[in-house]
Every structure is written in structure tokens, then in C-alpha cells.
């Protein structure tokens, strides 16, 4: 995405995930805002251009260069705000003329695209811009640097280049870049301010409905993820309990023989299943029951050692739950 002049910053670095787009749009619209709002997400930038509170253009550009405009861009922005959980909003107030130029840059008619400067007569082009009373933006750039000249009715409004924040009156940087080898130009034109005022995306897009639908869908997805996560947690806990049960069985079998498996299964069933191993009181009762059975099969010394092993295994597992 191009760097754009900042003009007069109204808001900077607002957390986009905490905002509701319909409310933001409503505020900018009712405040007859002129300028642009820039939403910056991890790999996506959305620019909304306003003229006297009317949303005249919406452009979304992804990191890979893919672009969406209008309704698609607004829908995608809603999704990003609701789902991404990150992103910032910057709002810059600009003059009407400069805003028009920004619109031209973003969504204007492309008259030249990546035209090598040495292959065209730049003086003739500038003359044509002037004589055609063109509104728009001329972008001059190389691999590393770029500058923009904004026009209204064929007259330059100002100059903007990488590294600066605002419109400048000096054309020095633009001329320098134009003089670099391999310099190219893009030329975008747009309608005048009055014509632009005739369109308002907010009138054709039911933003509140898009927002509500997306919110509901997102909530459903969140619930689904939450349920899946809970199920995963439950399954993980069940797996841990099964592992612990097997460990307990192996310890008892080691001391009392194969009959130990049945004893453990029966005593666990008496305590309401292997979940009792998570509960301190229930696991103590379970160990006492195992002791009672073991006394019929092995010596008290071996029973004591076995119970110590059981308690240690259960305590270790409990600390992991």
C-alpha cells in the first residue's frame, strides 16, 4: 500500500478489534469528516476515503497485492475487525481537494501504469494535465523511492514523497526521483469533488446488517472452537486418566499378580470410575480399598510399598491435571 499524507491526525493507533465499524462510520459520517481512515492489520490495509462525511471509496489491499474495493472491501474489513483480534485504526483529516486526490490514487482511472519515464515526454504530459484540467495524482517511482504530485484542475496541489508525513510545496524530491535511472510513472485521474460527493458507499451498503451477521457467525465459530477446545480438553483429561489407571493397574499387578487388574477395576467402579483418581478424598478411599484387598494376597510389607508407589503415582498425575 502506498504511503499517504497524514494531514491532521484525529485518531492514531486505536485498537480495531475493540471498535464497532458501524459506530465508527456513523461518527465520521455525522461529523461530515473529510479525509481517510486507515485500518492496518497484520498483512492487510484498508483505506476508507470520506468527503464531507460520505464514504467515497473503500480499498483493501492484502500483503500479496490482491485488492478489493467497495462492498467487498467493506465486508472484508468487517471480517478482519471481528475475527483478527488485532489491527489499528488511524484517522487523518485532509482538505477536500487532497482527499479527492487520495481517492484518485486509490480508485481513480489509470491513465498510465508503470510507464518508463525515459520513454515519454514528461513536459508534454504535465502540459496535458494542465490543459485538461485534470484531477488526480502522478506517481513517480523507482525500485526504492517514490513521490506523488496531486493535481486539482490541472494545477499541482502539493508534493508527497516517502519519508515525509505531509504535503510539501517543493518539487525537489519529485524531480530527483524523476532523474533516477529506471524511474517510472503512474497517472491516476478522478472526477471533481462535486461529482464525488454524489456517491456514498454507506448508503448502498447495509453496514449494520453486515456487522451483525459477521458478529453472529463469528460468535458461532467461537462457540464451536470453544466447544471443540472443551471436548479436546475433556478427551485429553480422559486420556491422562486412562494412562493413570493403567499405571495403577500395573503397580498393583506387580505386587499382587494378575488378579490386581480386576481388583483395581472393581474398586475404581465402586468409587464411580477413574475420575476418582483426580479427587483427593476419593483416591484416598480407593487406596484404602486396594489395601483391604491386597491384605488377602500379599504381606503387609509389600502392601505398604505398593501403596506408597500408588500414592506417588496418583499425586504426580494429580499435579498435572
Amino acid at each position: 500500500m502506498f504511503l499517504l499524507p497524514r494531514g491532521n491526525p484525529l485518531f492514531e493507533n486505536l485498537a480495531a478489534s475493540k471498535l464497532k465499524l458501524p459506530e465508527v462510520m456513523s461518527k465520521l459520517s455525522t461529523g461530515s469528516f473529510t479525509g481517510y481512515a486507515s485500518f492496518n492489520f497484520q498483512s492487510t490495509t484498508v483505506i476508507l476515503v470520506f468527503e464531507s462525511g460520505k464514504l467515497v471509496s473503500a480499498l483493501l489491499e492484502e500483503g500479496n497485492g490482491n485488492r478489493q474495493t467497495g462492498f467487498e472491501a467493506m465486508s472484508a474489513l468487517v471480517q478482519l475487525m471481528i475475527a483478527s483480534g488485532s489491527g489499528t485504526l488511524n484517522v487523518y483529516k485532509l482538505s477536500k481537494d487532497l482527499t479527492m486526490c487520495i481517492h484518485a490514487l486509490l480508485q481513480g482511472e489509470i491513465l498510465y501504469k508503470a510507464q518508463e519515464l525515459k520513454l515519454i515526454d514528461i513536459k508534454m504530459l504535465l502540459e496535458k494535465i494542465r490543459t485538461d484540467h485534470m484531477n488526480g495524482c502522478l506517481r513517480i517511482y523507482t525500485q526504492d523511492r517514490s513521490a506523488m504530485i496531486f493535481y486539482k484542475d490541472g494545477n499541482p496541489l502539493g508534493f508527497f514523497h516517502d519519508g515525509s508525513h505531509d504535503i510539501e510545496t517543493s518539487s525537489t524530491e519529485s524531480q530527483k526521483i524523476a532523474g533516477l535511472p529506471g524511474a517510472k510513472i503512474d497517472l491516476y485521474s478522478t472526477q471533481g469533488v462535486e461529482e464525488l460527493m454524489g456517491m456514498d458507499l454507506l448508503e448502498v451498503v447495509n453496514l449494520q446488517k453486515i456487522w451483525d451477521t459477521a458478529s453472529t457467525r463469528h460468535q458461532v465459530e467461537l462457540d464451536k472452537i470453544s466447544n471443540e477446545s472443551k471436548e479436546r480438553d475433556i478427551k485429553a483429561a480422559e486420556r491422562k486418566l486412562s494412562d493413570l489407571e493403567e499405571q495403577v493397574k500395573n503397580i498393583v499387578i506387580e505386587y499382587v499378580g494378575k488378579i490386581g487388574r480386576g481388583i483395581v477395576e472393581k474398586e475404581l467402579a465402586n468409587q464411580g470410575g477413574n475420575a476418582c483418581l483426580k479427587d483427593e478424598a476419593a483416591s484416598a478411599r480407593f487406596i484404602a480399598d486396594i489395601e483391604r484387598s491386597a491384605k488377602l494376597l500379599i504381606s503387609s510389607t509389600k502392601t505398604k510399598i505398593m501403596l506408597e508407589k500408588l500414592s506417588a503415582a496418583i499425586a504426580t498425575a494429580m499435579s498435572e491435571f
Partner: protein, 249 residues
């Protein structure tokens, strides 16, 4: 005291040793029952009762009081029933891993049965020598049947716990019941064919005929089996409880 000494003089040395050994087995089994689970209580109390049933041979009053003599045999019957109850509980534990009940109940129920038996003897007329012999025959029949049943129970218990430390103790119990089966079985055999000592005493009193002279070999062999198997029973019970005590210590 004089009566007791006279009784000792009348006793065969082998019978006296047998009673003493049963006394030791009874003491061992009773001691074993004190610190162990209820299942062992039934078994050990039962073997202790065997000693009480055998002790009639040392009881100077038993000869004079037939009711007391009968009571000794009833104790013997209760003994094998309590032992069988213990093995049955152990078998149930091996199959279901279920342990229920309290030790006190075993002591109490055994005591109540003995009291009831005593009352039964008190309220009935004094038993004749023939009646006492019948009671002894019933006792032997129950011992033979339940010994056989216990051998089968022990076999099943052993197959369930054969990889446990205590499993060899059950092999020892198997040997105990094999000895008891021979001991009581040979006595029952003699009683059924009326070749036993008590019948001979009755014959002397009543003047009835006896065919004992026709089968001296069988009678002698059965008497010998009864004496030695009885002796081995008491020795094997003592040895088994000592072995179990060491296993479960």
C-alpha cells in the same frame, strides 16, 4: 485332676499327640485371625473350633456327660461349616473382588450357633451312646463332603491367584483338606460298616452281632489311615498357618 490323669493314661499316645497338635494349630489359627481380614477370620476360627472338638478326648467330663460329648461333635460340625464359609468368601473375592462384612459378625454368629446347639442339647433328653455315635457320624459325613468341596474351591482359588505370593498357601490348604478327607473319610467308612470303636462298645452292651472279625485287614487299614491322616491334618494345619503368617507378615 486325678480323673484327668487317668484319662491321659487311657489315651493312645498318637491320639494325645494329635490333640496337642490340634491345640497348637488352633492357637496358631486364632492368633492369625486377630490381625487379618474377615475372610481369614472364618477360616482360622473354624480350625480353632477343630481343636475344641478334638479336645473332648482330654475332657474328663465328656465320658460321664453324654451331652458334653455330643457338644464336642457339634462343635466339629460347626468348625467345618465356618471354614467352608471362609473359603467360599475367599473364592467369591477372587471372582468378584468383593469383600464385605465385619469380623465381629463372624465371631458373634459362630458363638450364637454354638450357644443354640448347647440349648438344643440341654432341652432334649440325654443322648444315648447310639445317639452320640449318630451325631459323630453326621459330623464325619459333613466333614467328608465339605472337605471335598473345599478342595475344589481351593483349586479354583489357586487358579485365580496362582501368580500371587499367597497362592502356595492354598496348595498347603489343599494338602490339609486331603489329609482331613482321609481322616474323616476313614472314620466314616468304619462307622457306616459298624466297625468303629463306639459301635463295638454298643455291641458289648447290647450283645448284638458284628462282622468286624471277617474284615480285619480293612478295619486295621482304615483305623491306621484315620490315626495318621488325623495326625497329619493337625501338623499340616499348623504348618500352613505358620507359612501363611510368614507370607503375610
Amino acid at each position: 485332676m486325678e480323673q484327668f490323669i487317668e484319662l491321659l493314661n487311657q489315651l493312645q499316645p498318637l491320639s494325645l499327640i494329635q490333640v496337642i497338635l490340634w491345640g497348637f494349630a488352633g492357637a496358631m489359627s486364632f492368633y492369625f485371625s486377630l490381625g487379618n481380614a474377615r475372610v481369614w477370620t472364618s477360616i482360622s476360627i473354624g480350625f480353632f473350633l477343630v481343636f475344641l472338638s478334638q479336645a473332648y478326648q482330654l475332657n474328663p467330663l465328656a465320658e460321664s456327660y453324654y451331652k458334653l460329648s455330643a457338644f464336642h461333635y457339634i462343635i466339629g460340625t460347626v468348625a467345618i461349616m465356618v471354614i467352608t464359609h471362609g473359603f467360599l468368601e475367599y473364592y467369591v473375592f477372587c471372582r468378584t473382588f468383593e469383600i464385605s462384612g465385619k469380623k465381629a459378625v463372624v465371631y458373634l454368629v459362630t458363638f450364637l450357633i454354638l450357644v443354640a446347639s448347647g440349648i438344643f442339647l440341654i432341652v432334649n433328653p440325654a443322648p444315648s451312646p447310639n445317639t452320640i455315635r449318630n451325631i459323630k457320624m453326621v459330623e464325619n459325613a459333613i466333614w467328608v463332603f465339605l472337605s471335598f468341596m473345599n478342595i475344589e474351591l481351593i483349586r479354583k482359588i489357586y487358579s485365580s491367584i496362582k501368580d500371587s505370593a499367597i497362592s502356595k498357601g492354598f496348595i498347603a490348604f489343599g494338602i490339609v483338606f486331603l489329609c482331613i478327607f482321609l481322616w474323616k473319610g476313614s472314620e466314616l467308612y468304619l462307622q457306616v460298616f459298624q466297625w468303629d470303636k463306639e459301635w463295638m462298645e454298643i455291641v458289648t452292651l447290647t450283645g448284638e452281632d458284628s462282622d468286624i472279625a471277617l474284615y480285619p485287614g480293612r478295619v486295621q487299614f482304615s483305623q491306621m489311615v484315620s490315626q495318621y491322616a488325623g495326625l497329619l491334618s493337625s501338623i499340616s494345619v499348623s504348618g500352613t498357618f505358620i507359612y501363611l503368617y510368614r507370607l503375610l507378615k
